[in-house]
């Protein structure tokens, strides 16, 4: 696939100048804008993580003070959760690819889409301001009464940043939901939709239903802190645990905002690089919706030791186990798709393999934590830290990178170095396991999270973990280097370098045209008809 002729007009070159980007209503350009901001946030979050890991190489608190340490892990959490993981796949890949995949000229509300980006940036700037003015030390969860009465750090500013960024997520979810309902090309029935679109739809449900609750919760906390309202204040008879209930009503489903879209991207990549239809398409599609709905029924497993009723805890424990079913359906179906497929060993697939392995570990250790008795032992230890990093970094970020490597030629019209990408996937996989694998053991041995000192006997495992971080850092840096390099020196990608199915590959150029398609696509077959087309690769 060597095309030497650049498409005459595409979404990148049909307009020039900063203003053409900052005022764009093109979903593809907005996706790129998100990519830039999220990359900055990821870089900052990674710096804070490096600070945390450096402090923890020695048992003494010798690098930073306890207060600074609190601010470091809070900054890491806030940055990574609200400004990286929540928008990373829906706002970047979803914005770029979803309208193309359903055969639409744009999302339903292009102006609203641009507004979402501005809202996101404003939230981001507030959070940055909070960090510059001295940081915040409550942890990313803002638990009351610590956040409302005790902490003397920049809770208000950070809360405001998170509150504002939440509206960006709500508006994006609303926009995508309407787009998927109302903007599909003729013939694009629900069961011909690519699984990525199903995943984005399920995510939009969570964004729309969950995010407003955390917004109002943070607002109540802010009213309590600023004006002395008493909603969670135990001195008046309020219950601080209510804050946790409301907070996790969103923040547990938010985990599915982070993981569902990468799962969708994984389905795309796995079908393309196995040259097969996804095994059990409708099961994978419905498991996305099931995860989104079940995700709303399990939140109190974060509260098992917070003093909730043991009877209620039993209900939530049972429901938490139930979420494992749709997640397992997906994992089994991906592996079944690989079975007897013509596996094409290219870089996106490397990230997929990493994703499946790490998500499996992350998901199964989640079941440990959903068990009532075991959770008493493991709660607030490094076991929890390891578990959710396996889901969020091992799952969400690996899945994002799989999708980014898959769609990169479409976004930029250029190919990156496959060898460098494979090496970087390997480095990230090794570095990740070295970083977070030992933390499972540390947690099981009883090392609590959020402390900057620890007993000497934990040091070996902590040093291993910190060493892993540096490998992880090299892996991510390498990714950034060859992707940026490819922008300038990369080989030109044809319209369909992966010989993939899908409207974004077959009905428009790389990079796509300004309004996506020169004529309205009409769909007459399912999303993954690799076998029918005889698209075997060499």
């Amino acid at each position: 696939m060597t095309t030497t002729v650049l498409p005459r007009v595409n979404y990148l070159n049909h307009e020039h100048g900063v203003a053409s980007w900052l005022l764009t209503k093109d979903h593809k350009r907005i996706g790129i804008l998100y990519l830039i901001v999220v990359a900055v946030a990821f870089f900052l979050g990674a710096i804070f993580a490096a600070g945390v890991r450096m402090e923890l190489t020695t048992p003494q608190g010798d690098l930073v003070s306890a207060d600074t340490y609190n601010k470091l892990f809070t900054a890491h959490g806030v940055m990574m959760v609200f400004f990286v993981l929540i928008p990373v796949v829906p706002a970047i890949l979803g914005n770029f690819a979803m309208p193309l995949m359903i055969g639409a000229k744009d999302v339903a509300f292009p102006k609203l889409n641009l507004l979402s980006w501005y809202v996101f940036v404003i939230g981001f700037l507030f959070t940055i301001a909070a960090l510059i003015f001295g940081g915040v030390d409550t942890g990313w969860t803002f638990y009351t009464p610590y956040s409302s009465t005790a902490s003397n750090s920049n809770v208000m500013l950070t809360g405001l940043g998170v509150f504002i960024a939440g509206f960006s997520s709500i508006l994006t979810g609303l926009n995508f939901m309407v787009t998927i309902h109302r903007m599909r090309a003729p013939g694009m029935t629900w069961f011909r939709l690519p699984l990525f679109v199903w995943a984005i739809y399920a995510t939009a449900l969570v964004q729309v239903l969950g995010t407003p609750v955390v917004a109002i919760t943070v607002l109540m906390m802010a009213l309590e802190r600023a004006l002395g309202f008493g909603i969670f204040d135990p001195r008046l008879g309020g219950d601080p645990v209510l804050f946790q209930h409301l907070f996790w009503f969103y923040s547990h489903p938010a985990v599915y905002i982070m993981i569902l879209p990468p799962m969708g991207a994984i389905s795309e990549v796995i079908a393309c690089f196995s040259r097969k239809n996804v095994f059990g398409y409708s099961f994978v599609a419905f498991s996305s919706l099931a995860i989104a709905v079940f995700g709303f029924l399990v939140w109190a497993h974060h509260l098992f030791v917070a003093g909730i009723s043991p009877y209620s805890a039993m209900v939530f424990s049972f429901l938490s186990f139930a979420v494992a079913i749709p997640s397992a359906v997906k994992t089994f179906n991906w592996t079944a798709t690989l079975y007897q497929g013509a596996i094409w060993w290219r870089a996106p697939m490397m990230w997929v393999f990493g994703f499946i392995g790490l998500f499996l570990i992350g998901g199964l250790t989640g079941l440990f934590l959903a068990s009532l008795g075991l959770d008493v032992h493991l709660h607030d230890t490094y076991f929890v830290v390891a578990h959710f990093h396996y889901i969020m970094v091992g799952g969400a970020i690996m899945g994002f990178l799989a999708g980014l490597h898959f769609w990169w030629p479409k976004m930029t019209g250029r190919m990156y170095s496959d060898g460098a990408a494979t090496l970087s996937a390997l480095l990230v996989f090794v570095g990740f396991n070295l970083t977070f694998g030992p933390q499972f053991i540390l947690g099981y041995l009883g090392m609590p999270r959020r402390y900057h000192v620890y007993p000497d006997e934990y040091q070996v495992l902590n040093v291993l973990s910190s060493a892993g971080t540096s490998i992880l850092g090299v892996g991510y840096t390498l990714t950034a280097v060859y992707l940026i390099y490819s922008l300038f020196r990369g080989e030109r990608a044809g319209a369909n370098p992966w010989l993939a199915t899908g409207l974004e590959w077959n009905n428009t150029d790389s990079p796509p045209l300004p309004h996506n398609f020169s004529d309205l696509p009409v769909v007459s077959e399912g999303a993954y008809e690799y076998s029918k087309r005889g698209m075997k690769v060499a």
Binding site: A104, K105, D106, A108, F109, P110, I170, L174, N175, M177, V178, T179, H181, R182, M183, V208, L209, G210, T211, P212, V213, A215, I216, T217, M220, L223, E224, L227, G228, F229, G230, I231, D233, R235, L236, G237, G238, D239, L242, H245, L246, H515, S518, D519, L520
Partner: protein, 235 residues
């Protein structure tokens, strides 16, 4: 991509472009359906937004029935009742405004919209006097909160939720009135036709939603335990 341009031109040749049709939609019908769904999804987020506060209300009402009864009696039921009637009337006038837009009677649309805004502002003015009275009595949660009843602590939770819920509702009213002002201006300019009156319809949905919130807030806040209160006064 052969025939692309021809097909494109042909496609649009079939029906004349309505000035309100945006380029990425195929038809006014599709555009309207997208707006309607978008508005409904937005209202879902609003329900969940108020839902957080209502959850707190539910918990503390179950926990502190005595304090709730006592604190609720301090709210002015006459003003609350009048405001309920005002808002329901404004919902009626809003529905009539949408109807006038549907049938293409611009002057009626404008008149009904102005009436709706007037009722909305009446609500806000009454609310202002209620709030001012509460500030006078220092029944506003915070360090200066004063309560001379039996439940000084939990009453403060009640008033936190009262101000949270009604404050958020009033904010929605202010946004709604602003929105209606813009729509009225557009209607006066003759922008709406029976083929395209989506903005009127969408602001109508929003306005009715805000009305529904108040339909719940009125009994939840003003009518907690009036019967018992009357009995006490009688004794």
């Amino acid at each position: 991509m052969p025939n692309g341009a021809a097909a494109h031109a042909d496609h649009h040749g079939h029906h004349a472009h309505h000035p309100a049709l945006q380029h990425h939609f195929e038809s006014l019908e599709q555009q309207h359906e997208a707006s309607t769904l978008g508005m409904w999804v937005f209202l879902v987020t609003e329900v969940m937004f108020f839902g957080g506060l209502l959850m707190a209300y539910l918990l503390y009402r179950v926990w502190y029935p005595g304090a709730w009864a006592e604190a609720s009696l301090a709210l002015d039921i006459v003003l609350g009742g009048i405001n309920t009637a005002v808002l329901i009337a404004s919902s009626f006038t809003m529905a009539m405004a949408v109807r006038a837009a549907q049938t293409g009677r611009h002057q009626h649309t404008v008149r009904w919209l102005i009436l709706t805004m007037a009722l909305g502002l009446t609500f806000l003015v009454i609310k202002y006097f209620e709030y001012a009275h509460k500030f006078e009595l220092r029944e506003v949660p915070g360090p200066d909160f004063e309560w001379h009843g039996q439940f000084p602590y939990q009453a403060q939770i009640f008033f936190s939720l009262y101000f949270g819920l009604t404050g958020l509702h009033a904010l929605h009213m202010i946004i709604g009135v602003t929105l209606l002002a813009v729509i009225t201006w557009m209607a006066a300019k003759g922008r709406f036709t029976p083929e395209w009156y989506t903005p009127v319809e969408m602001s109508g949905l929003y306005w009715h939603f805000v009305d529904i919130v108040w339909i719940f807030l009125f009994p939840l806040l003003y009518l907690v335990d009036r019967a018992h209160g009357v009995a006490q006064v009688g004794v």
